[in-house]
C-alpha cells in the first residue's frame, strides 16, 4: 500500500509538472491562472498522501484543509484584477490615478 501511495504521489507530481507547463507557457495570463489552479488542487491531495506516507495523516489534514480554503483566495485575487484592468497583454496601460504622498 505504501508503494501504491508513493506511486500515486509521483504520478500526481508528474501531472503537476504538466500543469506547470501551462502555467509557465500559457499564452495568456488566464491560462497561467488555470495552470496554477490545477496545481493547487493537486497539492491538497498530495499533502494528504504525504501524510499517509508518514503515517501521521492527522497532522497533515490540517494543512490540506488550510490549502483547500486558501488556494482559492489567490485565484480570486488574480481574477479580480481583470475586473478593473482590461486587456490580456502586459502592454495594457490604463494609468492608475496617481497618488502623491508629499
Amino acid at each position: 500500500m505504501h508503494g501504491f501511495l508513493l506511486g500515486a504521489a509521483l504520478f500526481l507530481i508528474l501531472l503537476m509538472a504538466l500543469s506547470l507547463y501551462r502555467a509557465a507557457y500559457g499564452p495568456t495570463v488566464v491560462d497561467r491562472l488555470v495552470g496554477a489552479n490545477a496545481i493547487g488542487s493537486k497539492t491538497v491531495v498530495l499533502l494528504i498522501i504525504i501524510g499517509h506516507l508518514f503515517s501521521r495523516e492527522d497532522m497533515f489534514v490540517d494543512i490540506a484543509l488550510a490549502y483547500a480554503m486558501l488556494n482559492f483566495i489567490a485565484v480570486l485575487a488574480a481574477s479580480r484584477y481583470f475586473h478593473k484592468r482590461k486587456g490580456l497583454d502586459a502592454v495594457e496601460e490604463e494609468i492608475t490615478p496617481r497618488i502623491h504622498w508629499d
Binding site: 508513493l6 504521489a9 509521483l10 507530481i13 508528474l14 503537476m16 509538472a17 506547470l20 502555467a23 509557465a24 500559457g26 495570463v29 497561467r32 491562472l33 495552470g35 496554477a36 496545481i39 493547487g40 497539492t43 498530495l46 499533502l47 504525504i50 501524510g51 506516507l53 508518514f54 501521521r56 497532522m59 497533515f60 490540517d62 494543512i63 488550510a66 490549502y67 486558501l70 488556494n71 483566495i73 489567490a74 485575487a77 488574480a78 479580480r80 484584477y81 478593473k84 484592468r85 497583454d89 502586459a90 502592454v91 495594457e92 496601460e93 492608475t96
Partner: protein, 81 residues
C-alpha cells in the same frame, strides 16, 4: 522524509522559480510565484517539516500572492524582462 517525492518536487521548484523570474508579465510572475509557494509547501511537507509547510501554505496561498497581485494591480504589469 520521502526522498522520491522530495526529489521530484525539488526539480519542479527550480523550474517554477526560473519560470517566475523569466516570464514577461508581472501578473503572470505573481501567479507563478503562487504556484512556486504551493510546491514549496509540498516540499516542506515531504521533508517532514509540517509547521513550516503549514506556514508556507497559509502565507503563500493566503497572503503573499495576494500582496503581489495587489501590488501589480496598483502599479503595472509591464516589464521589459
Amino acid at each position: 522524509m520521502i526522498w522520491q517525492v522530495d526529489l521530484a518536487i525539488l526539480a519542479l521548484v527550480v523550474i517554477c522559480a526560473i519560470a517566475a523570474v523569466t516570464v514577461r508579465d508581472l501578473l503572470g510572475a505573481g501567479i507563478l510565484f503562487g504556484a512556486y509557494s504551493f510546491m514549496l509547501c509540498l516540499l516542506w511537507a515531504a521533508m517532514g517539516a509540517v509547521d513550516v509547510a503549514f506556514t508556507e501554505a497559509s502565507v503563500g496561498a493566503g497572503v503573499s500572492t495576494v500582496f503581489f497581485i495587489a501590488a501589480v494591480f496598483r502599479t503595472t504589469r509591464r516589464t521589459k524582462d
